[in-house]
């Protein structure tokens, strides 16, 4: 009945017979954001959210990088007076925490928010308001911890905040509470994005994009999102228990009252090890796309690569105890975790072989993205080797808590994630901004990063073997660690300069880079079928996928579907495995409520650090904002 009334008019106009110009105008109107500040804050376009997310994550990288630079300056000479022990403790905690929780994970999810909908050929992410909400929660959490740091209440208990050190007895004051609450902020936001990405990939793939036609990067994002879904609750539970111990006197980690400090370590590392893969798997996805494009052929071994991703995902949950070898575990348990830690090298090795096989004899184009991929291969293999070393208990006991470990995980994290990430920025920058980054600056950027990184971190292996412990603010001259530390600091400064070049390149190119066109690299996946930057609605008509690299296979004519509404936002929902068209479903317009709800969450979280009771009225406040969010604002929202 009412349905009929709505259908009758202009409102039900479909894209079928519209000419390109007209279609563009109408779709832009239906999908565009409102103007003004409120409109800007309410914009649920995944590209807008994704861009802000990426930008914010790089701001946190710069902050955490500055903390690292300060640490390196302090360590350059023995008995340096630059930074005292208290500030140093805050610096390494802020550095580690920011890098892991506010940069590495969010930046990968940010890329998923931007790229996944384009790569699967849809017009927006599933649950766009939730995604927007999670962005604000993330920003507010990051803001909280950095403001606290500036007020000298930055956390100082290391990025994994072991109890009892972080507990009420040994860390009075608010520092650890800030840390624990920041964790809760970022995990809420990560989890929400993970669910959105999973549903986007499951239900919004373009017609014909069967499971075996999903781009490898999207597979990586999917597996990563599952890892987030099953790993992050552990650290959220842990941080909640910690803050309860600290604020309302529970005893989860209090040995004297039936609690256990190792419970913290189990919960933390149950999350912490998969975390490494949460950061690393999207990196491998970037590598797969870039390798395929620049070697101008489909990546060798699609199926093994997908299986390797999935296998890594599963195995990563069986490894956490290797972070706890020094706690005196039963012998058999330790052996099991050593074996599984070594086992996970197998799928990683397999991936590397597939990339090499793709590159072999292909004469790859050595543009900047490709250079970063080659740098990644080199650094990551080294990091993997030291990883297999520390997976064995006797070695681990020797180098535990020394700079050997610091060197190892920076090889894995920077090599495995940051290098592919920088490559990815160079690769997708033209899509996002419509302009190419400078190749000349790009080459400088790469070589300074590569050399700077190795100079900064290789020597740390040796320092570790010489016995230099991590997390010390200084050391005596007669220990002989001075020269290598000086070298390391020099390398770190070169590395910092390389990031300076990167930021300059990005800023300058955004204004005056060469126009990119749709597909500057001649890539094969769907995101390159759109103009650069893509219009708000992504695709004028839904693409139909018949190949793994549709743009390579279809030549210059893309088969598409029509019949969708143009007066309001409509998404095509397809079936899980075969991606057969199933529904034309409405998707939300912009809304200010996600922003308001995120503010309410922030008020609840931050106030509850100071008054436990705020958890109660804060939740009520959040509940109210959620009602405001979900209550339909117009009748069209009901039918579609």
């Amino acid at each position: 009945m009412t349905d009929v009334a709505i259908r009758a008019s202009e409102k039900d106009l479909r894209d079928t017979d519209l000419a390109a110009e007209d279609l563009h105008d109408r779709l832009s109107r239906a999908w565009g954001a409102k103007s003004g500040l409120i409109g800007w804050l309410s914009d649920v376009d995944h590209k807008a959210v994704g861009r802000r997310y990426i930008f914010t994550a790089f701001v946190f990288l710069a902050l955490a990088g500055s903390a690292a630079a300060l640490m390196r300056l302090q360590l350059a000479r023995p008995e340096s007076q630059l930074i005292g022990p208290d500030l140093y403790n805050q610096l390494f905690t802020m550095h580690g925490t920011t890098m892991m929780f506010l940069f590495a994970v969010p930046v990968m999810q940010a890329f998923a928010v931007y790229l996944a909908p384009l790569m699967v050929g849809t017009r927006n992410i599933a649950f766009p308001r939730l995604t927007l909400f999670s962005y604000y929660v993330y920003v507010l959490g990051g803001l909280m911890i950095w403001v606290a740091f500036l007020m000298n209440i930055g956390p100082d208990v290391g990025w994994f905040a072991y109890t009892p050190l972080s507990g009420p007895q040994f860390s009075p004051g608010k520092r650890s509470d800030i840390w624990a609450q920041m964790i809760t902020f970022t995990e809420v936001s990560s989890l929400a994005v993970a669910v959105s990405v999973i549903v986007t990939v499951f239900k919004q793939r373009a017609p014909g994009m069967t499971l075996d036609r999903i781009p490898l990067l999207v597979w990586a994002m999917l597996v990563t999102s599952f890892l987030i879904m099953f790993a992050m609750p552990a650290v959220m539970l842990a941080s909640t228990m910690l803050i309860l111990d600290r604020l309302v006197g529970t005893h989860f980690f209090n040995y004297a009252e039936g609690g256990d400090t190792l419970l913290w370590q189990h919960l933390f590392w149950f999350f912490g090890h998969p975390e490494v893969y949460i950061i690393f798997l999207p990196g491998t996805g970037f590598v797969s796309q870039i390798v395929g494009t620049f070697s101008r052929r489909p990546v060798f071994g699609y199926l093994p690569l997908v299986l390797a991703l999935v296998a890594t995902g599963f195995l990563s949950f069986g490894l956490w105890v290797h972070h706890m070898f020094a706690t005196g575990l039963p012998q058999l348990g330790a052996s099991f975790f050593t074996a599984s830690s070594m086992l996970i090298a197998v799928p990683s090795g397999l991936q590397i072989f597939c990339w090499i096989a793709t590159l072999w004899g292909s004469r790859p184009v050595l543009a900047t993205p490709m250079l970063f991929v080659l740098g990644f291969l080199f650094i990551f293999v080294l990091g993997g080797m030291t990883g297999v070393m520390v997976a064995s208990v006797p070695i681990d006991l020797q180098v535990h808590d020394t700079y050997f470990v610091v060197a190892h995980f920076h090889y894995v994290l920077i090599g495995g994630a940051v290098f592919p990430l920088l490559g990815a920025v160079y690769y997708w920058f033209p899509k996002i901004t419509g302009r190419l980054m400078s190749e000349r600056l790009g080459k400088w950027n790469f070589w300074t990063a590569f050399i700077g990184f190795n100079v900064a971190f290789f020597g740390m292996h040796i320092l570790g073997l010489m016995g230099m412990p991590r997390r010390v603010y200084t050391y005596q001259p007669d220990l002989g660690w001075g020269p290598l530390n000086m070298v390391s600091t020099a390398g770190a400064l070169l590395l910092a300069a390389s990031f300076g070049l990167f930021f300059i390149n990005a800023l300058v190119s955004m204004r005056s880079g060469a126009p990119a066109g749709n597909n500057p690299w001649g890539a094969g996946t769907l995101e390159w079928a759109t103009p650069s930057p893509p219009p708000v609605y992504n695709f004028a008509r839904y693409p139909i996928v018949r190949h793994r690299e549709p743009l390579w296979a279809e030549g210059d004519e893309l088969p598409v579907a029509h019949g969708l509404m143009v007066s309001q936002r409509e998404l095509l929902i397809t079936t899980l495995t075969e991606a057969r068209p199933d529904l034309r479903e409405g998707t939300p317009d912009g809304s200010i409520w996600p922003f308001i709800a995120a503010l309410a969450v922030a008020v609840a979280f931050i106030c509850s650090i100071f008054w436990a009771i705020a958890a109660v009225w804060g939740s009520a406040l959040v509940g109210l904002t959620l009602i405001g969010w979900f209550w339909p604002k117009s009748v069209t929202e009901d039918v579609t």
Binding site: R14, D260, P559, A561, H562, I573, D582, E585, F630, P632
Partner: protein
Amino acid sequence: MKLRPVTDLSGLPTYGYGPQSPIWWGTLGFMALEGMGFALAIGAYLYLYHLAPGWPLADRPPNHWPGTLMTAVLLLSAWPNKLVDRAGHEEDLPKVQRLLIVMSVIGLLTLVIRFWEFTQLYVRWDQNAYGSLLWLLLGLHYTHLITDVGDTLVLTALMFTKHARGKRFSDVSDNAFYWYFVIGAWLPMYVLIYWVPRW
């Protein structure tokens, strides 16, 4: 790049039920991650239980009657829940309205019972780790109860307005879907909180 239309989608429906609909998958996703949270909390309980010299770390185990009542009410609520789900599928508005009221009342009842449960644990959260665990487990489940009851109340109100049509029926069945999760998650907790200490 030229676009060559090959398929017409104008005949597709604009909403669907169950696995057809993205919201259903989103709900499932949240169930999975919340279920993981529950599982880990249960794991923490068993871990400390395993380490403790005796259990419970209190003079006596909690009074199981409130919990048993809760279990009974939750299990029985599966029946109207199924009915409301079905009525949603049939898009039968009067029936949906009636049943949602029933579910709201049941929901509010469980909130009250839960309150009673807290008073019958015979241990405070700050007494020892065992007490902390009980309050944590019960509290975790409580937040889920509150969330779903809140959602049910809002949805009930919504179904009495002009918005009660189209996709809202599919929302009704997604809400029912989540309630099953709330029931299912409770059962292991019930055993853990009330019967493990009596072993």
